[in-house]
């Protein structure tokens, strides 16, 4: 036991003396929370649009005024003809063009019917359809204002309630995702690399011939990262509650217990990777490409899993972070107890046992 503690102490020294690595360990979660919280929104604001007004009459001016007043749009300039629209799109800044034909007001007043053309740069399809929708609703509201009577018979009035997140903030969705990502990152990547480093430097041989049990040597490597992950987790939670005003409805104790489970799963994965590779570079690439990117993709916090093709949905079930993501959402936001998440917990636990078993089986006391 005393030997074990000494080894743990050695590992802590290793971690704390490397300032640049610490920067990533603590800086990255904070940077991510800030960026996701304040810089990245799926909302589309201040999109630059151009107007091509062949009509130049009262009605077209009024609609242009309404478009300019919206926070979604920023009218860049007015163009003279269609050729210029293509040029503007090619230069890349303009997302939408609104074209008024000649005699717009005239047609509207006398024939009760006029046309407006909306051209979107659909190389970004989501932005294109969202912007077309915004423009359409602005134009429709103008049209409504022309109609005098507004008594509509047989009206169905939907009453919509937004549960859990009435302000539709992005934070509720991504904070659990960032937590999963950071824990995976710290545990899988850092553990596997720090073990392989001893192999690469040749110091592993020294450790393995020491009277200390080789398993203890390896476990002591994982301990600092376990502690650091818990610290990171607390930092993320504090930031998200106090900086991003996230709700915290469930039990903190349960959340930390479940997080420890994910951390242990990730650590076992890190052990497995380090047992199967011999250079830091390949350990790093495997954990980065094979673990982090799937974690980003398949947890469901960036892209909805139910939209993916069936084979990918099946693969997503093998990513531990996905289950953790469900658990965190249930505890933090929905405020549910253990009875709601026992299934996910069991799956994570199973994964951990499996990974641990494989990595212990692959563990060799002698180096080649």
């Amino acid at each position: 036991m005393k030997q074990f503690l000494i080894f743990v102490k050695k590992e802590f020294y290793h971690v704390f003396r490397d300032r640049k690595t610490l920067l990533m360990l603590f800086g990255l979660p904070i940077a991510q929370i800030v960026l996701f919280g304040f810089a990245l929104t799926n909302e589309i604001k201040n999109s630059k649009i151009v107007i091509c007004d062949y009509a130049k009459d009262a009605a077209s001016q009024q609609i242009i005024g309404r478009l300019a007043a919206s926070t979604n749009f920023e009218i860049e300039r007015s163009l003279l003809n269609h050729q210029q629209i293509e040029e503007a799109f090619r230069q890349g800044k303009i997302k939408l063009a609104v074209v008024f034909p000649e005699n717009f007001n005239n047609d509207l007043q006398h024939f009760n019917k006029a046309q407006i053309e909306i051209i979107a740069d659909a190389s970004d399809p989501n932005t294109a359809s969202t912007l077309s929708n915004y423009a359409t609703s602005i134009i429709s509201s103008y049209q409504q204002s022309l109609v005098k009577s507004n008594l509509v018979p047989l009206q169905i009035v939907p009453e919509v309630r937004m549960l859990y997140n009435p302000e539709l903030k992005g934070a509720t969705n991504f904070v659990p995702g960032v937590m999963a990502l950071v824990l995976m990152l710290v545990c899988v990547l850092m553990t596997s690399v720090s073990i392989v480093r001893e192999k690469e430097n040749g110091t592993m041989e020294v450790l393995l011939v020491s009277p200390c049990n080789p398993f203890l040597v390896i476990i002591s490597k994982a301990v600092p990262y376990f502690v650091l992950s818990l610290v990171n987790l607390s930092v993320i939670l504090l930031l998200s509650v106090f900086l991003l005003d996230m709700p915290f409805n469930g039990s903190i104790l349960l959340l930390f217990a479940e997080s420890s489970l994910l951390i242990l799963t990730a650590l076992s994965l890190g052990l497995l990777i380090s047992n199967s590779t011999s250079s830091q570079q390949s350990a790093m690439l495997i954990s980065l490409m094979g673990m982090l990117i799937p974690t980003m993709l398949f947890t469901g916090f960036m892209f909805p899993i139910e939209n993916m093709p069936i084979p990918l949905q099946i693969i997503s079930n093998m990513v531990p972070a996905k289950w953790y993501y469900v658990i965190v959402k249930s505890i933090m936001i929905k405020g549910l107890g253990f009875s709601a998440i026992w299934k996910e917990t069991l799956i994570l636990f199973g994964m951990m046992c499996l990974l641990l078993a494989i990595s212990f089986k692959k563990f060799k006391i002698r180096l080649a």
Binding site: D18, L23, L28, F89, R90, L154, R197
Partner: protein
């Protein structure tokens, strides 16, 4: 020149002899390019809806079948009461609960107005927002259908109507993968090159072989060039395979603009990016350090690059970060040339900025690499 040739020979041998690394460099990015665009689909569809129908009337059944047949919604099941349906939201089985109150049909006809209750799971704000918008559009449609049953529409509208003709250029079918594939390809090339390059010099430092190079007459810039060129070649190769094999054969993306222009920009971008990798490398002492720092920067570069969310919607300070990020420019140029056929005159500014990046990073890296430790 001869020194450089020998150095290059050494570097290439080192890379190609490392059997564990090769598949990671070449195969992983391509597999990801195959999978990621399929997974990265932001479109909101398959919203699961739970229905609580207290009315059980002809109208309420028609409404439900209209919602389901729209294609955006999947019926997660009927609930006997609201708390019952709410349980399905808690279990993530449903995203949305539609409650049709008792007397829906009767009240609608008699009192001309009737409420419907909708509760949305808004943890995912985007999905909640769009799902709610789809549902209200369907409701308006349904509402009009009912009105048509009761009143015969007038042939000619007496109210002024504006017809909106919208067209989507460059991507008429709104195919999301057209947008994502060029961006993801850019990111994969970036990641491979930046990581490999930043680890490279550090590895020599850590193993101690850098001492042997330091005592030879190899010039500083020879050494840096020797490290830079192999990864430049690999980057070009991975990019070409991604563009000509996967993007073209699997996703059917054929660049609209000039390939030469695209490659010109890529060549410049790789120089800038590799310079950045080398710079990190000269500042780190161990591979773990180099990797951590590289990962820190890459994460920020990727998130701020406009790959997933548009740069225009960011607040002012975040736009400044995006402007100082080489990846932003590369992704923008990729999308412009491949999807919109932009010409050199459209991306002059991007070229200038990238030249500035390349010069800064590389000169800084050469200056910071010291042959004495």
């Amino acid at each position: 020149m001869r020194t450089l040739k020998f150095l290059l020979q050494k570097e290439f041998k080192q890379i190609f002899r490392n059997k564990a690394l090769l598949p990671l460099i070449f195969v992983m990015p391509l597999i990801q390019l195959l999978i990621m665009p399929l997974a990265a689909d932001y479109e909101v569809k398959n919203v699961d809806i739970a229905v609580v129908d207290h009315d059980h009337s002809d109208y309420s059944r028609k409404l439900v079948s209209k919602i389901i047949s729209s294609g955006y919604f999947r019926l997660a099941g009927y609930g006997s009461s609201y708390p019952d349906a709410f349980k399905q939201i808690e279990k993530d089985k449903a995203d949305l609960v539609l409650e049709i109150p008792q007397g829906f049909e009767r009240n609608l006809v008699r009192e001309n107005s009737q409420k419907l209750f909708i509760a949305v799971n808004a943890i995912n704000g985007t999905k909640a927002n769009l799902g709610g918008a789809y549902l209200s559009r369907i409701l308006i449609d349904y509402n009009n259908d009912i009105r048509m049953e009761w009143f015969h529409p007038q042939r000619f509208s007496t109210n002024p109507t504006i017809e909106i003709v919208s067209s989507n250029w460059y991507n008429p079918f709104l195919n999301y993968s057209f947008f994502m594939v060029p961006g993801i390809l850019a990111v994969l090339v970036t990641m491979i090159c930046a990581y490999m390059c930043s680890l490279n010099i550090v590895k020599e430092k850590e193993i101690g072989t850098i001492e042997q190079i330091n005592v030879t007459p190899i010039k500083k810039y020879h050494f840096i060039l020797g490290k830079l060129i192999p990864f430049w070649v690999i980057g070009m190769f991975v990019f070409s395979v991604g563009l000509f094999v996967i993007a073209r054969l699997v996703y059917g993306i054929v660049p609209l603009g000039s390939i030469v222009l695209l490659y010109g920009f890529l060549a410049l971008y790789l120089v800038a990016l590799l310079g950045f990798g080398l710079l990190l490398s000269t500042y780190s002492d161990t591979q773990q350090q180099a990797m951590s720092v590289a990962f820190f920067f890459m994460m920020i570069f990727l998130l701020m690059s406009g790959l997933f969310t548009s740069v225009d919607s960011m607040p002012g300070w975040a736009k400044v970060i995006a402007k100082c990020n080489p990846v932003t420019y590369f992704i923008e140029v990729m999308r412009m040339i491949i999807l919109k056929g932009s010409r050199f005159s459209d991306i002059k500014y991007h070229f200038l900025v990238m030249i500035a990046f390349a010069l800064t990073f590389n000169i800084w890296a050469v200056l910071n690499y010291k042959k004495t430790s």
